[in-house]
Symmetry: C2
């Protein structure tokens, strides 16, 4: 993997293996990717907390890895997952973080 | 949109609206997003070329926007698209940039 382009990070897209919904995008560094593979659950690197972030560890909405894909230039991960717990991946309680269109955001703003 | 977290860029995930395949991930700055909306075709900001990049302009494999979603913290775009041309989104000629698993890459390396 090419971690150099983004100062040690690569974007990681999470897709529901059952529904094909795109659930969220996070970032992984080398250690986050290693832990994701080791444990079989998605671990990100949190840019705001500057630490590994085992997604769903507290809420129970963990993301079990079904398969990990890499893009052509090896600087992006696609994780196909099975959602555990209530399957509410977004911290707002929605199933996916992408629950609003750009137009919907602008109407509120 | 929050462009500040990544020095003016946000990741943009491209998903085929017909098949739900994740096709590629690029980056957009404010101008790339504006042009994407204006023209109805995905335009990225190329980090390597440091310029706007109208995806498929030369190859004909353009990405017509069906809908643009934004994630909960407004720092990532999900573009649902209709592929034009031969639908070979990846520069390698594949339909998607995510055509290999992490294991497949490691076997080659």
């Amino acid at each position: 993997m090419d971690f150099a382009k983004m100062n040690g990070l690569v974007p990681a897209v999470v897709q529901d293996d059952a529904t094909n919904e795109v659930l969220m995008v996070g970032f992984m560094n080398d250690a986050a990717l290693a832990r994701t593979r080791e444990r079989g659950y998605v671990t990100f690197f949190s840019r705001t907390r500057n630490a590994l972030w085992a997604k769903g560890e507290i809420s129970g909405n963990r993301l079990a890895v079904v398969a990990l894909f890499v893009d052509c230039d090896e600087d992006t991960i696609l994780a196909r997952v099975r959602c555990e717990g209530e399957g509410r991946v977004c911290h707002t309680g929605e199933r996916t973080c992408f629950f609003r269109t750009l137009e919907e955001i602008e109407e509120v703003a």
